[in-house]
């Protein structure tokens, strides 16, 4: 009969209306500025620079100003100037550091190529999305201080990736240390050998 479908429809809407009050699972709205959704781990927008130590961000930048990212960046939004002097990095090795590191986020296309090419895991993708400004020139050009964020923050936003990176860095460092030890040992051995060299031919091998 005409009208039964209409009544069914009214029933459906009434059920939804009542349900939205007693069943909070139905209400999927997230009231944004107060409540934020958990972003997926792979979410990315603009790059940031990783520092080892949050208390001294400029002193512990992983970046050594090799300028690979600057050269690889497709829209050429990265600008780097090398420092004149060297500073010890996290491992204590003296390294160059970026005197100026700027990213123009109005140009950046979030392609992540800078992250892919960085041999030092010094640049990573950020998850900050509340970046609207009222000044479209200077406020969108981020400098070194604005870009630097701690490794702990990196762990927070991309935990899996950061763990991998840390493991790799630790392994590299260990390998480097082992290599250094080995090299030192070899050197010492060589030096010893050199020292013992004139005598050696005369004495039979051990």
């Amino acid at each position: 009969m005409l009208g039964t479908g209409l009544l069914q429809g009214l029933g459906v809407t009434a059920k939804n209306f009542v349900g939205s009050f007693h069943d909070p699972a139905r209400l999927t709205t997230i009231e944004y500025p107060e409540v934020k959704t958990k972003l997926p781990e792979a979410y990315r927008n603009f790059p940031f620079l990783v520092t080892e130590n949050a208390t001294d961000p400029m002193g512990t930048l992983r970046c050594v100003a090799c300028q690979i990212c600057e050269k690889e960046c497709p829209p050429q939004c990265i600008y780097i100037e090398k420092s004149k002097d060297k500073k010890p990095d996290a491992t204590g090795k003296p390294q160059l550091f970026p005197a100026i590191f700027a990213i123009d986020t109005s140009v950046c296309m979030s392609c992540q190529i800078c992250v892919e090419v960085c041999p030092f895991d010094a640049i990573k993708m950020d998850q900050v999305y509340e970046i609207a400004t009222t000044d479209r020139f200077s406020a969108l050009l981020l400098n070194r201080e604005q870009l630097a964020k701690s490794n702990a923050y990196y762990h927070e936003i991309h935990p899996t990736e950061a763990a991998e990176v840390d493991a790799r860095l630790a392994a590299e460092r260990k390998a480097a240390e082992a290599k250094a030890v080995a090299a030192a040992a070899a050197k010492a051995a060589a030096a010893a050998a050199k020292l013992a060299a004139p005598v050696a031919p005369k004495t039979p091998a051990v």
Binding site: M1, L2, G3, L6, L10, T13, N16, S20, L27, E31
Partner: protein, 417 residues
């Protein structure tokens, strides 16, 4: 009137004339008692106009908010809930939203097309609003609350409502936009088509009540059967059918979904209102809601017993509260229907009016005539009377409904899977 009579009035066991019932009148008399006699009448009239405007203005504001909230809840969203009280952080579920909307529409730019007929473009919303406010004059809001008592009150109501068509035409033509004009013609076709069932739906009421005066129609619906079933016309077979037809036609007359083709925001960029912006658009919006409220008020007066309480035990609640309660229920129904039904197509719309509603309304007229002729039937004849009347309503409904929905469902897709 003197304030000293209040305790006397309250002690009267007759609730129909209790203090609460006469509170609005007492307040009015108290406010104008200092005036000399010849001026009092004028100021009293002005006061009632002011009260109607402010009450229904507020009702309009909160109906828009309720509509958005309820639509939201039905779609499992919270609806507007953020607008704070100005300069504070108090939100109160967004109760300030209508005022924010008002300020927004007031401060928006009022764009008038260069080739438009400026005078008519301005007059269209004004005429529409004026006439939709005029319709509020004859509705009895309470036992003692009728702004104007007219001998032909119902006729006045629909005569004032007829002028809305003129405003729609003016809006469409003055915009100098062919789409506006076409949409106005479509809107007119709809309004004229549904005017007929709307008018035919209340004729049975006039036939049975024997009067065109709204107060007398309400008075004719007083009393209760066995103290439970009120003598409202909606509780008779022809009254129920008339009420349904009236409400469907009222939906179409006030451009509400599912008959909102004249505007059809999602498809027609608001039809004849395309070239309207800012406050003029808000006026159209307001007039539309006023029309909806007025038509609901008229439906209450004609079919739902006006301000009468549904049971004699509930009479201690003043009559105007009952009226407003019924009005809110009907408006809620409007919103519920809007949330549920998809929009009709133009040909479905006109076919529904001319091939379904008009014949049903005409048959209903005959039904009401039978009802009033068989008024003196009693005993088992009473049952026969009900049976015949119900059959006369249900039979044509089923037959016409079958014809109307023949060949409509289920839809066969020729190319899509």
């Amino acid at each position: 009137m003197n304030l000293a009579v209040i305790p006397v009035a309250a002690s009267v066991s007759e609730w129909s004339d209790s203090f609460l019932e006469r509170l609005p009148l007492l307040a009015r008399d108290w406010m104008t008692s200092w005036l000399p006699e010849p001026w009092r009448w004028l100021v009293n009239s002005l006061l009632s106009i002011a009260v109607i405007l402010s009450v229904f203005g507020l009702l309009f504001a909160y109906v828009t908010l309720a509509e958005r909230k309820i639509l939201g809840r039905i779609q499992n969203r919270p609806g507007p809930n953020r607008t704070p009280i100005p300069f504070t952080k108090l939100r109160f579920f967004g109760l300030a939203q209508p005022f924010a909307d008002g300020v927004k529409s007031l401060t928006k730019e009022d764009v008038v097309p260069r080739g438009a007929d400026h005078l008519l473009h301005f007059l269209a919303p004004v005429v529409l609003l004026a006439f939709s406010i005029l319709t509020f004059a004859v509705i009895p809001y309470g036992r003692h609350l009728v702004p104007v008592e007219l001998n032909a009150g119902v006729l006045y109501f629909f005569a004032a409502g007829a002028a809305t068509e003129l405003a729609v035409f003016m809006a469409g033509w003055a915009s100098r936009n062919k789409y506006s004009l076409l949409a106005a013609m479509r809107a007119l076709a709809q309004l004229i088509s549904y005017e007929l069932p709307l008018l035919l739906a209340w004729v049975p009421v006039v036939l049975v009540a024997g009067t065109l005066s709204t107060t007398e129609i309400v008075a004719a619906q007083s009393g209760w059967q066995f103290n439970v079933i009120p003598h409202w016309y909606v509780f008779t077979p022809w009254g129920a059918a008339g009420f349904a037809i009236f409400m469907i036609a009222a939906l179409a007359e006030s451009n509400r979904s599912p008959f909102d083709l004249p505007e059809a925001e999602s498809e027609l960029i608001a039809g004849h209102l395309t070239e309207y912006s800012g406050f003029k658009y808000a006026l159209f919006f307001m007039a539309e809601y006023f029309g909806m409220i007025a038509l609901s008020g008229m439906a209450i007066t004609l079919f739902l017993g006006g301000w009468h309480a549904p049971s004699p035990y509930l009479e201690f609640i003043p009559s105007y509260v009952w009226f407003m309660g019924k009005l809110s229920a009907l408006l809620l129904g409007f919103i519920w229907i809007r949330a549920t039904f998809p929009r009709l197509r133009m040909d479905q719309l006109t076919r529904f009016a001319w091939k379904f509603l008009v014949p049903l309304a005409l048959i209903n007229l005959g039904n009401a005539a039978f009802w009033s002729l068989s008024l003196h039937w009693s005993g088992p004849l009473q049952i026969l009377r009900w049976l015949i009347s119900v059959l006369v309503v249900v039979g044509p409904f089923v037959l016409l409904g079958r014809k109307l929905s023949a060949g409509v469902a289920p839809r066969v897709y020729r190319y899509a899977v």
